[in-house]
Amino acid sequence: MIQHLPILPILLPLLAGVLLLFAADAHHGRRAGFALAATAAQLATAVTLLAAVDGRIDVPWQDGGAVYALGNWAAPFGIVLVADRLAALMVTLTAILGLSALIYALARWERAGSHFLPMFQFLLMGLNGAFLTGDLFNLFVFFEVLLAASYGLALHGSGAPRVKAGLHYIVVNLVASLVFLVAAALIYSVAGTLNMAELALVVPRLDADTRTLFELGALLLGIVFLVKAGAWPLNFWLPSTYAAATAPVGAVFAILTKVGVYALLRFSILFGQDIAPAPFKGDWLFYCGLATIAVGTLGVLATQKLDRLAGYMVVISSGTLLAAFGFTGTTLTGPALYYLASSVLGGGAFFMLIEMTERNRTAAADLLAISFEAFGLQERHESEHPDEMAGVAIPAAMAFLGLAFFSCAAILSGLPPLSGFVAKFALLKAAIAAPPAAPAEQAILLFAALLLSGLAGLIALSRLGIRVFWDSERPTPRLQWLEAAPVAALVLLCFVLAFGAGPTMAYFDATARALHEPAAYIGVVLPGSRP
C-alpha cells in the first residue's frame, strides 16, 4: 500500500469531490462531515508523505524521494510523480490550509452557492498534482485543474464585485494557459521530451540554434509562472480578485501564488543556474522580486481596506520569495522555504480573520474614519464625555479577533515573536553573509526591501487595525466555533514554527540542499542516466 502513497494526495480529493457531487442534495451535516473526513485524510496522507521523504518512516524508496510511474510507463515515456522533500512540504501546506479553510467554510460560506465542496476538493487535487508531478505537460494539466476550480471558487457567492474581479482573473489566467501551452509545445518540439528530469539532461546538449528556440519556450514558460506568482507587472488582477473572493477561498488562494513560485524554483534549479534561460536566471528573478515587493509595499500603504491590504500582503510575500530564490548563491533557499510556510499559514489565517472582523461594519464608517484621520478631526462621540476615564470592556469575540489580528499582522510584517520574524531574520542573515560570493548590491537591496516592506506593513496594519478594532460604534461580530478554530489553529502553527525553528529549519535546509543537487533528482527519476 505504501508504494501508492504519492498518488493519494491527488486521488483522495478527486474521489471525495466526485462523491460530493452525488451528495449535492444530501443533508448539510452529512455532506460537511464527509468533506471534513476526506480532507483530514489528505492531511494525514500529506504528513505521512512528509515523514516518508524525511526518512522517518521505513519506505522502499531511496533517499531523494519517491517516483511513481503512472500507468507503469517508466520515465521519460510515461508520466511520473516525484515526491521529494519540496513536493511533500508543499502538499502538507496545502492540506493544512485546505482543512482550515474548509472548516471555516462549513460554518457559513459553503452554502453561499452551488458545488462549493466538490470544487474545493478539485482545487486541492490540482494543487497537489502540480506539486507532485514530474512532467511538464502534466504540470499544465494540473495547473488547469486548479485554475478551473479556482475560477468556480473565485465566483462562489456571486455578487457584482466578485463576478467582475473573477472574470478578470479568468481571462488573465486563460491567456496565461494559452501561453503555457505554446511554451510546452515549443519546448517539446526542440527537446523531444516532457519529463522534467530528462529536460534537464537534454537542454545542455542542444546546439546553439535549437537552444535559442528552447529559450524562447522557457521565456514563455517563465512568464506564465510569473503571472501565477503575482509578479509585477503581471499582477494587477491579484488584489481585487483576492479581496472579492469569499473568505475561505481567499485563505486557500494564499497558496495559489506559491504554485507559480514553486514552479519557478523547481525549473530554475533543474535547468541549473549557469545555463538557465532568462526568466529562470537568478538576476531576473531577483529584480523582478524586488519590483514586486516595491509595488506590494506601495499597495499596502495606499489601501484603506483590509481585504485589499491582505491581497497586497500576498504580493509582497511573492516578491520576497522571488527575490530570495533569485539571489545569487544557494544559501537563501532554506530560509525562503521557511518564509513560504510562514506566509502561507499567516496569510490564510488573515483572510479568514478579516472577514470575521469586517462583519457588521458599514462602508460609511470606513469613509468617516479615513476623513477624520486625514483632517485630524475630533471624532464624533468624543466630545460627549471628554473626562470619562473608564475604558471599554472588549467582549470575548473581539478579544479573540484582536489577538489573532495582532498575531497575523506580526507574522505578515515580520515582527517578533512569531514565525515571520524568524523567517526574515534567516533571510537577512543569509543575505548579509552571501557577499563576496553574491554581489554586495543584491544584499543591500534585499536588506532594504525586507525592512522597508516590514515597516510599511506595520504602519498600514496598525492604522487599519485601530480603525477596525477600536471603533466603539460597531456591534461585536458574532462568531462560531467553527470559524474561530481554524484561525486559531493556523496562528498556533505559526507559533510552533517559530518555537520549533530548530527542527523545522533543519527540514527546510535539507530540502534546499536536496534541491540544489538536481543530479539526485534526475538520478531518482531516470535511474541509469548520467548528467
Binding site: F22, G192, A390, W470
Partner: protein, 959 residues
C-alpha cells in the same frame, strides 16, 4: 534557572490575568503584584552571585542552524536594570490597583502590563542580540496596547499609533543594525560581540551599523528628532506613563547604547550622532517643558530632557561619563516615577491635570504635596538629593571634555542652560499645582488619596533622599558592579561623595539653581499665555501626520502609475512582456529556418487557408458590435483548421476539432442572447488618443501573432527530434494493445493527462452552472428576440409542454431530431468502441451524443425536452469521473501503479471472442463525462430563458 524564572513569571502572570473576569480588580492586582514581587525577590537574591561571578548565564538551544539560541545573561548592569524593572513594576502595580476605576476592564491592563514587564526583562537579560530585538519589539507592541488602553478616546488611539510607528520603525532599524553587527562580530552572542570591538570599529560597515542602532535607540528613548511621540503617549493611564514612559521602556534606548558602548563608542561619529542627539534633546525638551499646560506634559518633556542628558553622557566617549549616565538612569527613574504618581494622584482626586486650573493643593493634600516637592527638587538638582549628584557628575564631565576649544566651552554653557530650564520647570510645576490660592472650579473636591496610593511614591522619594545623603552606602557598590560589567578592567576610579569642594561643577549647579529661580520668578510665574514662545509652529504631531498622509497619497499616486484596475492594460502587458522579452532576451532573429524543404504549395490548400485567415481577421473586425457574426466567422476559422488536419492525415485531431467546434459555437451562440446589446451609434471618444492606443495594440497583437507564426515555421522546418515519440509509435500495439497511436497515448501512455483534463472539463461545467444559476440578465435582454417572437406566435410554454410535439414552426424539425437521437447514440458508441484501433474515442463519441442532445433542446425547447427526457448531467459527470478513476485504481489490485492498463482476453459462450481492457472503462468514463459536462452547460444556459420567462410572467410584462 532563576534567570528564566524572572522573565517567565510575568508572562505566566499575564496569561493568568487575561482570563480573570473583567471586574476582578483585587485578584488582578494580587496576581500582578505577586508576579512582580517574586521577580524582584529573585533578582535581589541573585546579587551576591552576580557580584562574585561577574556574569550569570543560561543557554538553551533553539535553532542552532540559524545561530539562534535562547541565551540569558545577567551581569551587574543587567542586574541593576532588572531590579529597576521588577522593583518599579511592583510599586506601580500597587499604585495602579487604586488608580484604575472600578469600571475599567482591568484584565486587559494587567495582562499587557505584565507582558511588558516580561519583555523589558527580556531586553535587559538577553545574552543574544536577535533575542533582544525580539523582546525590544514586544515592548513597543505592549506599549502600544497600553497607551491605547482607553481606546475610545481619539487622543489615545493617535498617541498609541504614533508611538508604535516611531518605535516600531526604530526597532526595524535596530534589527538591521544588529544583523550587520552580528555578521561583523561573527556571532550574535553578546559576549562574542563585545569581544569583537576592534574589528567592528575598523569595519567599513561601522557607519551603517552605528546609524541603524542609533536609530533604534534614539527612537525608543524619545531623543531628538524622534522625541515627539512621548508627549502624545501621555494619554495612557498614569501608571503606564510612570512605568513605561519614564522609568523603564524609554530607558531601553540608553540601556542599549550603554550595553554596546564598549563596541561602538570611542569614535567621532558616535560623539556627533549620540552626543548631538542627546544635547539637542536636553536643551530643547527642557525649554519646551517650561511651557506645558498639562502636568504630564511637563513631565514628558522633562523625561526627554533627562534622557537627553543620559544620551549626551554616553556620547561623550569617556568612561566617567558612562558611570554618570548609569547613575542618572537609576536616579531619574526614582524621582520621575514618583512625580508621575503624584500627577496621577492629582488627576485622580481633582479630575484635571491642567496647570491653568490647578492651584493651592498643598492645603488639601499635604502628604502628596510634600512628596512631590521633594521629587521635583531631586529633578531640579537640589543638593542632598540624588538628582544633584548625577547632575554634578554630568557638569564635571562637560567641563573636562577632551575636544577642540569651541566644543569645550560650548558644552558647559549648554549644560548650564539646560540646568536652568530644569530648575525653572520644576519650580513652575510645584508652584502652580500646590501653592497659591486654592483652586475653585475643579471637577472634584480635592482630598488626600488612600495611603496605599501614596506608599509607592513615598518609597521612591525615600530612595531619592537616601541616595542623595549617603550615596556610597546606598548605591555605591551596585553602581560599581554595574559600570564594572560594562567597562571591565577599564572602569575608572570615582567618588560618590556629596561634597567635592568648591569647583566649577558646583558653581554651575548654583548658577543653574539661581538662574532657574530667577527665570521662573521673573517670567514664568507671571506668564498667562498657554503657547510656547519661538517654537510654537514646530509641532511634531503635525509633522508626523503630514508625513504619513503624504506617504499614503504618494503611494496611491505611484500605485496608479504602476498598476491598473483595467483588464485591457493587464492583457497588453502580458503580451508586451512576452513579445519584448522574446525580442530582447534571446535574439530571435538569430534563429535560422530549418533545413527541411517546404512541400510544394497546393492551390486548394492555399485557398482553404486564405478563407480561414480571412475568417479569423473578420472575427477581430466584428467582435465589438456584431458578436453573432464574429462567432460565425470563428466557426469558419475552426473549420479551416479541421480541414487542415484532414489534409495532413490526422483524422483523430480533425474529428475532435470538428466536434468541439460545433458544440462550443452552438453553446456560445446560445449564450450571446443574454449579453447586453452594444450599439454602434454609441461610439467612444474619437481623436488622437484612441488612434494611438489602437496603433499600439495592433503593433503588440501583430507582433505576437507574427512571432508565433515564425516560431511555428522555424520548428516545422527542422527535422523532428528523436525524443520519446518513436517509442509511442513502436509500442502502441505491442504494449498498448491498440492500433490508433493517438488514442493509446491519450488513454494509456499519458492517460493521467487525460484524467486531469476531463476533471477540468467537469469543473468548468460546474463553474458555468454555478455562475449562471445566480445570473440575472440585463433588462434589455429580457425581451424575446424578434425572430423567436415571430415564430412562436402566442403559444405559451405550458401548452407546448403537454403536446406530443412542440407547436408552431418547430413541429417538423422536432420529429426529425427525435429520430436522430437513438441514431446519434449508436454512432457515438461506435466511435467510443472503435477508438482504440481507429479514429474516434471517448471524447469524440461523447461530443457526438452531446450534439444530439443539444439539438433536442434547440428544436423542442427546454420545457418540452425536460418533461420527456430526464438527463442528470451532474450524475453523468460524477459517474464518468468515477469510472475513469476505477479503471485506474483497479490496477492497484494487480499490484501495479495507478492507471496501469489491465486486459482480459477470452471467449464467452454466446458473444464469442472478446477483448476487454481497463482502457475501455477509462474511455467510457471520458465519454460519460463529456456528455455530462456539455449537457450541464447547455442546461445552465437553457434554464436562463426559463427563468426569464418566469420573470416576465411574474411581472405581468408578457410582451
Amino acid at each position: 534557572m532563576e534567570l528564566a524564572l524572572i522573565i517567565f513569571l510575568p508572562f505566566l502572570g499575564s496569561l493568568g490575568a487575561a482570563f480573570l473576569p473583567p471586574n476582578a480588580r483585587n485578584a488582578e492586582a494580587w496576581l500582578a503584584g505577586a508576579a512582580a514581587l517574586a521577580a524582584t525577590a529573585i533578582t535581589v537574591s541573585l546579587y551576591p552571585q552576580v557580584a562574585a561571578e561577574g556574569v550569570l548565564r543560561l543557554n538553551l538551544p533553539w535553532a542552532p542552524a540559524l545561530g539562534l539560541d535562547i541565551s540569558l545573561r545577567m551581569d551587574g548592569f543587567a542586574w541593576l536594570f532588572a531590579l529597576l524593572v521588577t522593583g518599579m513594576g511592583t510599586l506601580v502595580v500597587i499604585y495602579a490597583r487604586y488608580y484604575m476605576s472600578p469600571a475599567d476592564p482591568v484584565p486587559r491592563f494587567f495582562s499587557f502590563f505584565l507582558v511588558f514587564m516580561g519583555a523589558m526583562l527580556g531586553v535587559v537579560l538577553s545574552g543574544h542580540l536577535i533575542q533582544m530585538v525580539m523582546f525590544w519589539e514586544m515592548t513597543s507592541l505592549s506599549s502600544f496596547m497600553l497607551i491605547a488602553y482607553w481606546h475610545h478616546r481619539g487622543e489615545a488611539r493617535r498617541g498609541a499609533r504614533m508611538a508604535l510607528t516611531v518605535t516600531g520603525a526604530g526597532g526595524l532599524a535596530l534589527f538591521g543594525g544588529v544583523l550587520l553587527l552580528g555578521h561583523i562580530a561573527g556571532g550574535y552572542d553578546l559576549d562574542t560581540v563585545l569581544a569583537a570591538a576592534p574589528q567592528v570599529k575598523a569595519h567599513p560597515w561601522y557607519p551603517a551599523v552605528l546609524a541603524l542602532i542609533a536609530l533604534g535607540a534614539l527612537t525608543k528613548s524619545a531623543q531628538f528628532p524622534f522625541h515627539f511621540w512621548l508627549p502624545h503617549a501621555m494619554s495612557a493611564p498614569t501608571p503606564v506613563s510612570a512605568y513605561l514612559h519614564s522609568a523603564t521602556m524609554v530607558k531601553a534606548g540608553v540601556f542599549l547604547l550603554a550595553r554596546l558602548w564598549p563596541v561602538l563608542a570611542g569614535t567621532d561619529a558616535w560623539f556627533w550622532i549620540i552626543g548631538g542627539a542627546g544635547l539637542c534633546s536636553l536643551v530643547l525638551a527642557g525649554y519646551l517643558a517650561m511651557f506645558q499646560q498639562d502636568m504630564k506634559g511637563v513631565l514628558a518633556y522633562s523625561t526627554i530632557s533627562h534622557l537627553g542628558l543620559i544620551t549626551l553622557l554616553l556620547g561623550m566617549n569617556s568612561e566617567l561619563a558612562l558611570v554618570a549616565a548609569v547613575f542618572h538612569i537609576a536616579n531619574h527613574a526614582t524621582f520621575k516615577a514618583s512625580l508621575f504618581m503624584a500627577a496621577g494622584i492629582v488627576d485622580h482626586e481633582t479630575g484635571t491635570r491642567d496647570l491653568g486650573r490647578l492651584s493651592g493643593l498643598s492645603r488639601a493634600m499635604p502628604l502628596t504635596a510634600a512628596l512631590a516637592v521633594v521629587a521635583a527638587a531631586a529633578m531640579a538638582g537640589v543638593p542632598l538629593l540624588n538628582g544633584f549628584l548625577s547632575k554634578e557628575m554630568f557638569f564635571a564631565e562637560t567641563v573636562f571634555l577632551d575636544r577642540p576649544d569651541w566644543q569645550r566651552f560650548g558644552l558647559p554653557l549648554a549644560a548650564t542652560l539646560a540646568g536652568v530650564f530644569s530648575v525653572a520647570y520644576s519650580l513652575r510645576l510645584i508652584q502652580r499645582v500646590f501653592f497659591g490660592p486654592p483652586a475653585q472650579d475643579l471637577p472634584h473636591t480635592p482630598h488626600e488619596p488612600t495611603r496605599w496610593m501614596l506608599l509607592p511614591s513615598a518609597l521612591l522619594v525615600a530612595a531619592c533622599v537616601l541616595v542623595g545623603v549617603v550615596p556610597e552606602l546606598v548605591i555605591g557598590p551596585y553602581l560599581r558592579t554595574a559600570t564594572g560589567a560594562i567597562l571591565g578592567a577599564d572602569a575608572p576610579a570615582y567618588s560618590l561623595a556629596v561634597w567635592h569642594g568648591f569647583n566649577t561643577p558646583l558653581l554651575m549647579s548654583f548658577v543653574a539653581l539661581g538662574g532657574g529661580a530667577l527665570l521662573h520668578g521673573a517670567l514664568l510665574a507671571r506668564r498667562g499665555a498657554t503657547t510656547v514662545p519661538l517654537l510654537e509652529s514646530i509641532d511634531g504631531r503635525h509633522l508626523f501626520d503630514v508625513t504619513l498622509t503624504a506617504l499614503t497619497t504618494g503611494a496611491e499616486r505611484a500605485l496608479r502609475r504602476l498598476s491598473s484596475p483595467r483588464l485591457q492594460m493587464q492583457m497588453l502587458l502580458i503580451f508586451a512582456v512576452a513579445l519584448g522579452g522574446a525580442l530582447l532576451l534571446v535574439k530571435p532573429f538569430g534563429i535560422g529556418w530549418g533545413a527541411n524543404a517546404p512541400q510544394p504549395l497546393d492551390p486548394a490548400f492555399a485557398l482553404l487557408w486564405l478563407v480561414g485567415g480571412a475568417c479569423a481577421l473578420a472575427v477581430a473586425w466584428q467582435a465589438k458590435y456584431h458578436r453573432f457574426a464574429a462567432v460565425a466567422f470563428a466557426g469558419g476559422a475552426g473549420l479551416a483548421t479541421s480541414l487542415t488536419f484532414v489534409w495532413f492525415s490526422a483524422p483523430d485531431l480533425a474529428l475532435t476539432q470538428l466536434t468541439v467546434e460545433v458544440v462550443t459555437t452552438v453553446l456560445i451562440l446560445l449564450g450571446l442572447r443574454w449579453l447586453p446589446r452594444r450599439d454602434e451609434r454609441i461610439a467612444g471618444p474619437g481623436g488622437a488618443t484612441p488612434r494611438l492606443r489602437r496603433s499600439r495594440d495592433i503593433l503588440v497583437a501583430g507582433g505576437c501573432g507574427l512571432g508565433l507564426a515564425a516560431l511555428a515555421y522555424a520548428v516545422l522546418t527542422r527535422p523532428a527530434v528523436d525524443g520519446i515519440a518513436p517509442f509511442f509509435v513502436q509500442q502502441a500495439l505491442p504494449q498498448g494493445g491498440g492500433l490508433n497511436v493517438v488514442n493509446v497515448i491519450l488513454v494509456d501512455f499519458r492517460g493521467f493527462d487525460t484524467f486531469g483534463e476531463i476533471t477540468v472539463l467537469g469543473i468548468v461545467a460546474l463553474t458555468v452552472y454555478a455562475l449562471l444559476r445566480r445570473f440575472r440578465p440585463a433588462p434589455e435582454s429580457m425581451r424575446l428576440p424578434d425572430q423567436q417572437h415571430e415564430q412562436d406566435g402566442d403559444a405559451s410554454p405550458r401548452d407546448s409542454q403537454e403536446a406530443m410535439l412542440p407547436a408552431g414552426a418547430m413541429m417538423l424539425p422536432a420529429v426529425l431530431v427525435r429520430l436522430l437521437l437513438p441514431l446519434a447514440l449508436l454512432v457515438s458508441l461506435f466511435f467510443l468502441l472503435r477508438g482504440h484501433n481507429a479514429p474516434g474515442g471517448g471524447f469524440v463519441g461523447g461530443l457526438i451524443l452531446a450534439t444530439a442532445v443539444i439539438l433536442q433542446y434547440l428544436v423542442g425547447g427546454t420545457h418540452w425536452v425536460e418533461s420527456r427526457l430526464r438527463i442528470h448531467p451532474l450524475y453523468w459527470i460524477a459517474i464518468g469521473l468515477l469510472l475513469a478513476a476505477a479503471a485506474g485504481i483497479g490496477a492497484a489490485f494487480a499490484g501495479a501503479p495507478f492507471l496501469t492498463s489491465q486486459a482480459w482476453h477470452g471467449t464467452l459462450p454466446v458473444v464469442g471472442e472478446l477483448h476487454l481492457s481497463s482502457v475501455l472503462l477509462f474511455d467510457l468514463g471520458v465519454y460519460m463525462l463529456v456528455v455530462g459536462a456539455t449537457t450541464l452547460m447547455l442546461v445552465a444556459i437553457a434554464h436562463q430563458s426559463l427563468r426569464s420567462q418566469h420573470h416576465r410572467t411574474a411581472t405581468g410584462d408578457t410582451r
